[in-house]
């Protein structure tokens, strides 16, 4: 340097010694000699010229102009005088995600061209106090990819000048995670003392505190304040604002940790928490373990620094800002966990799984991965339950976590209907309602097979059980493919089990046969048998009900069975057919108390429950009555046909007889239509539907449902339900009328026939006498005869009026019935009314009918 004094090295060296030791020249003689000796020994610099060192200096280096001749040596001198001994490599085993600082470095390198310009300016602008004439420093990739140079780089590259205060220095790097937090220059000036009570708390102490706070333990300065539920820095402590803020941010982690820890601790004491909850706590525990691992690494680093003594430069040690960066990810994780914990308070079982699943619906991939992992652990027990239930039919659920509930009080006969139910609150949200129902059905079927059908085939034969929920990993896979694999599994199990169940029911217990037998016997399907039975029972049932004995009637039943096609039925079915006598009220004849019965037991009683059998009996009653009417009318008609010829000789009876015939044919028509309606529109149609459904049924529930629908339809159509009570009463009234007519006609015929026979006798006697040569008849005999005939003829008007009353009454009842039918809501009943009054015979008489028929007809026409 031209302008500097050209002093000799010795002189310079001496003055250097004086300056460094602070002593006068005389006293440094010893040191000076030493110095001369050392420098005189001509050794070259031993270290390899570390490229990285050079690179770092390039920035400042390029500030230096060509003033210095021996630039390098000066710089090297400065370097070797620096207070940073080469740090052992392992102290920089960067804790936690080992790639993190490097990845940060890499990312930094990527962004270097973009950002380092700006950051470079921040670095340079700090130096800008010293205006540089040199070329603007081209930003070089300042950070090597290797981790070795990292600490120096962090040290060198972005350290800020002493002059600027630490707080303002925070501003530029705050936007980007600062790599090398600068050492507050105050440290260099002041000797390092820990926790100076009179002065500011320095950062190392704070870091130590923070590390305790991370674990939830109160530190020296930062304590948990219970009323605000947060970590607060002791207000007595003097602390600059930036440090205070940073430590508050870091203390949040401690709070989150406490929350999660409290939950797991509380739950581990709870005995009734259940398997799902336990797995949830286990997963939380695992996460906390990872967190503790991080903390232990941080601790160890702090320890290393302590071991190396006070003189260790603090640039690569733990600082609050470094902690901020490193704890960012754990903070996010802990936040997720704390949120989960909050949301899952007080839930257990399937509810807990639903809650966790709800948290999985997030866009953040990290959070999603974490929640998915927890979800797979949590749902593992549920899936285990599920598979055991589906494949074995066993339910071992002590904590009531599964969504299938079993009621232990229910006995086997109600097993299908009442024993197993769905616990809706426990259905996890990733299992749809449909799947849950199918699952319930499958397990129910297996249990049904075992207990009710006594079918002991091992479940392995029913479905190919795939035990693939053994590990949580499988559960995770399953969860990721809920639509496909899981649904398939359930469907396969469902189809196989239900099919097997139906097979067993049909093969071993003849369900379909019994269904048909019900139709044939209780619903009067087997016509010949019913007719024969009625024939045989007629004399019996005409007696008062109290004189009937069941065994008599059963005997008659047997006879009927043997004499008709019913004998070719399955013995199993005939065994169940029986007679039942209903309760006797006074004044009942046999007709009122007679009923057939069909015994059901075992598995088929699941389909034919007690209520179903009750319904069947009511329908049988109704049908039996209608049949009886038909039967009665047939008798009447027979009587009419037989006696018409006979009574032709009595012309005075012709009017009465004519009336009888008319009334009878009206009744016959009515009953015909009713029978048609009942047989075809009600029974046959419903039966057809039922049969189709049963044939196509995939499981027992379908069959039961179809059967119930069938019975409901029949009951409502047969006017047996509550809505049609008035109609039914009308019908009963009509039936009563028919019976009255029958008795009236019978008495008429009896008296007529008696009269006839008497007359015939008289004629016979006359003829006989004439043959004998006597007078045919004497005068008194003739007078007697005449008187008798007179008397007879006087009874005729009485009979006629009786018949007229009967007819009138009958017709009025029928008209009311028709009106009711017309206004009923059921379409088929309306059609029935149409048919009943096909020639508008009643319409002519009944103004109400006229109006209503016309109205409906008009409406109907308008609809067409």
């Amino acid at each position: 340097m031209a302008t500097l004094d050209q002093k000799s090295p010795n002189v310079l060296l001496q003055s250097l010694c004086c300056r460094i030791t602070g002593k006068s020249e005389a006293e440094v003689a010893h040191q000076f000699q030493y110095a001369v000796r050392v420098i005189g020994s001509n050794y070259a610099p031993t270290i390899e010229r570390d490229e990285f060192l050079v690179v770092f200096f390039l920035m400042l280096f390029s500030c230096l102009q060509g003033v210095l001749k021996h630039r390098w040596s000066v710089l090297y001198l400065l370097l070797s005088l620096s207070e940073d001994p080469p740090l052992p490599r392992d102290a920089h085993s960067t804790p936690f995600y080992c790639t993190r600082p490097q990845s940060l470095a890499l990312s930094y390198g990527e962004r270097s061209t973009g950002l380092s310009a700006s950051v470079g300016t921040s670095g340079i602008s700090s130096l800008g106090v010293y205006t540089l004439n040199g070329p603007t420093p081209t930003p070089q990739p300042l950070l090597p990819a290797a981790g070795g140079g990292q600490p120096l780089g962090s040290r060198l590259a972005w350290t800020l000048p002493v002059s600027s205060s630490p707080s303002s220095a925070m501003v530029p790097p705050a936007a980007r995670p600062p790599l090398g937090p600068p050492v507050p220059a105050a440290r260099v000036v002041r000797p390092r003392r820990d926790g100076d009570p009179a002065g500011e708390v320095n950062e190392a102490a704070l870091v130590r505190d923070i590390l305790y706070v991370f674990q939830g333990i109160d530190g020296k300065f930062i304590k948990m304040s219970a009323q605000d539920n947060c970590y607060k820095i002791d207000s007595k402590v003097v602390l600059c604002k930036s440090l205070r803020d940073t430590s508050s941010r870091l203390a949040e982690l401690g709070w989150l940790h406490n929350k999660v820890r409290k939950y797991t601790d509380a739950r581990s004491l709870d005995r009734a928490f259940g398997l799902v909850g336990q797995s949830f706590c286990a997963s939380l525990h695992q996460e906390l373990k990872e967190y503790y691992r991080l903390l232990s690494v941080l601790h160890s680093q702090l320890q290393v620094e302590d071991d190396q003594g006070v003189t260790v430069c603090t640039e690569s040690s733990l600082t609050l800002r470094r902690l901020l960066v490193w704890m960012y990810d754990p903070k996010v994780r802990l936040k997720t966990l704390a949120a989960l914990v909050d949301f899952c308070q007080g839930r257990k079982g399937g509810e807990l799984a639903s809650a966790v699943h709800a948290y999985g619906k997030t866009g953040d991939p990290q959070m999603r991965a974490l929640v998915q992992y927890i979800l797979s652990l949590v749902s593992h027990p549920i899936l285990n339950f599920l598979y055991r239930w589906i494949y074995d039919g066993e339910l071992e659920d002590t904590y009531h976590e599964f969504f299938v509930a079993s009621d232990p009080n229910v006995k086997t006969d109600r097993l299908w209907h009442d024993k197993y139910s769905l616990r809706k609150s426990m259905i996890p949200s990733f299992i749809t309602m449909d799947q849950a129902r199918k699952v319930l059905l499958i397990g129910k079927s297996i249990n049904f097979l075992h207990q009710v059908c006594h079918d002991r085939t091992p479940p392995g034969k029913i479905t190919a059980a795939s035990k693939s929920a053994d590990t949580p990993k499988d559960a995770a896979e399953l969860l990721s493919d809920l639509e496909g694999a899981f649904q398939e599994k359930i469907d396969a199990a469902y189809f196989d089990t239900s099919k097997y169940l139906l097979d067993v029911l049909n093969r071993n217990y003849l369900l379909l046969e019994h269904l048909q037998a019900m139709r044939r016997y209780l619903l009067l399907g087997q016509g010949d048998f019913i007719r024969h039975l009625m024939d045989l029972l007629k004399p019996e049932l005409a007696r008062p009900a109290t004189t009937l004995y069941q065994h008599n009637l059963t005997g008659i039943l047997e006879t009927a069975v043997r004499a008709t096609n019913a004998q070719y039925d399955n013995a199993e079915i005939l065994k169940r057919l029986d007679v039942r006598l209903l309760e006797v009220s006074p004044g009942d004849t046999g007709w009122d108390v007679f009923s057939l019965d069909y015994h059901v037991d075992g598995p088929i009683s699941t389909v034919f429950t007690r209520e179903c059998m009750g319904h069947y009996l009511r329908v049988f009653n109704f049908l039996w009555r209608a049949k009886r009417m038909e039967y009665t009318l047939t008798d009447i008609w027979k009587g009419q046909m037989c006696n018409a010829k006979l009574l032709k000789t009595m012309p005075e009876l012709s009017g009465v007889l004519h009336q009888c015939h008319i009334l009878a044919s009206e009744m016959v028509h009515f009953i015909h239509q009713m029978q048609y309606y009942i047989t075809f529109e009600v029974l046959e149609c419903s039966w057809d539907e039922l049969w189709n459904k049963v044939r196509q049924a995939q499981d027992l529930d379908h069959i039961i449902a179809a059967h119930d629908v069938f019975l409901d339809t029949i009951i409502s159509r047969c006017l047996l339900d509550n809505n049609s009570r008035s109609l039914l009463n009308q019908l009963r009234a009509i039936f009563d009328q028919i019976i009255e007519f029958q008795s009236a006609q019978d008495s008429l015929y009896r008296s007529a026939l008696e009269e006839l026979s008497l007359r015939l006798q008289y004629e016979e006697k006359k003829r006989q006498r004439e043959e004998e040569g006597q007078w045919g008849v004497t005068a008194e005999q003739e007078a007697e005869e005449k008187k008798r005939i007179q008397e007879f003829q006087e009874t005729i008007p009485k009979m006629r009026s009786q018949l007229r009353i009967l007819t009138h009454f009958y017709q009025s009842i029928v008209q009311q019935f028709l009106v009711l039918l017309m206004t009923s809501s059921d379409e088929s009943l309306r059609f029935l009314s149409f048919r009943l009054d096909f020639n508008e015979h009643y319409r002519a008489r009944e103004p109400r009918l006229r109006a209503s028929i016309g109205a409906t007809r008009g409406r109907r026409l308008s609809n067409i």
Partner: protein
Amino acid sequence: MASAANANLNAVRETMDVLLEISRLLNTGLDMESLSICVRLCEQGINPEALSAVIKELRKASESLKVQSQPP
């Protein structure tokens, strides 16, 4: 002539400032005077490693003297 000298002076001053900055960043503990002496020595061809060893020795010696002089 004077301007050239001035320019030179400025350059020198700037260089020294930069070097001082570097040394401060490196925490070398050198003040301006010592730094200028060192720079002059290096410019004259002194081996930098030796020089740094010397300086460290001197520092250590002065420290120990200080400790000795302080009575407990």
